[in-house]
Amino acid sequence: RILMSVTEIRSGFTAIKANIQARDPIRTLSILSHPQSLHKVKSSDRCCIIHNLFNFYMDKVFKHCQTEDSYINRKISSIANSFLSIKKKLEQCHNQNKCLCGQESTEKFKQILANYEGLNITSAAIKSLGELDILLDWMEKSR
């Protein structure tokens, strides 16, 4: 059912992707893919990265993406609430220690936070939201 929620997130994101990415003037930087793509993450580290990234989006991204456009805000709410329902399912794995974090995933997540903190909060949040399809593609491809 996580996959179905990802499908719902993707349809919500597709509706606002062009608008959000147009608000991101910094083309030469990536939050999720710098210096290495998510696709380099070992499968054993996958759950940990997903768990950390969902917390990242909940704590540091969605709340800083408020816009003047009510439609965009509603779609961001849809995505955020879908993230929350997935996060609660992931929490169950995390609590049962089925979501262990290795050295590599810890480093990868530190890099993502460093990329994020290298920009001002609103720019970093909008860029992270604009890169949501990178996360979704990686989640679906590495199922």
Partner: protein
């Protein structure tokens, strides 16, 4: 807004939710000779836990005269939602009336799918109505006699007629179906059984 500007807030706020389509309804606020308008807002679990309990307006239901609002597009996650409505007449505005308790789409009522079974020569076909991207269909079918070997097929794409089986000449075949919504992991009850007969005479 002055004290006399206060309007009564909408009452009897409730949700009608069937097959993953969700509607907020309320009783009208009646003021003699006045047109009352209503505005609706929602708040998901994310807004309560991460966004300072903020509320989000539904612009299609801002200053409307109807007493129903389609909230399907905004109830797009399996979490608990709060909903509220207020009334306006010009500068006069009511307090918010809030839905009693949360609404979670997991409680939607699922009805058996409309279905049409067709015997096309020796082919057993079924036509199912498209109920939206959230829906799949579990179709059960069996040859009536001499034995009841029940088979089933999970159908996601109903844009065209679904081929279930190749039938034996002259035999009766029966079909029934239910919907399944993966995001809430629930199914409807089964539809009425429909039976058809394959063409030709039975071999003895």
């Amino acid at each position: 807004l002055g004290e006399d500007a206060l309007l009564p807030s909408p009452q009897n706020i409730s949700i009608l939710s069937t097959n993953m389509r969700h509607f907020l309804t309320w009783s009208p606020v009646t003021i003699q000779g006045e047109t009352v308008r209503y505005s609706v807002e929602f708040q998901g679990e994310y807004e309560r836990e991460y966004a300072n309990e903020s509320w989000i307006p539904i612009c299609e239901c801002s200053l409307i005269t109807a007493t129903v609002c389609n909230i399907t597009e905004d109830i797009s996650a399996t979490v608990a939602y709060n909903l509220r409505v207020r009334a306006d007449i010009g500068a006069r505005r009511s307090q918010w009336g809030t839905l009693k308790g949360f609404f979670n789409r997991i409680t939607t009522s699922l009805t058996p799918p409309p279905m049409k079974v067709i015997a096309d020569g020796y082919h057993l076909l079924v036509e199912l109505k498209d109920m939206g991207p959230a829906f799949q269909f579990c179709v059960l079918y069996w040859k009536k006699e001499p034995y009841w070997l029940m088979q089933w097929k999970m159908v996601k794409d109903v844009s065209s007629t679904v081929h279930l089986d190749t039938m034996e000449a002259g035999h009766d075949y029966c079909v029934k179906a239910q919907t399944y919504v993966e995001t809430i992991n629930r199914s409807s009850s089964f539809s009425q059984t429909q039976c058809v007969r394959a063409q030709g005479g039975r071999s003895l």
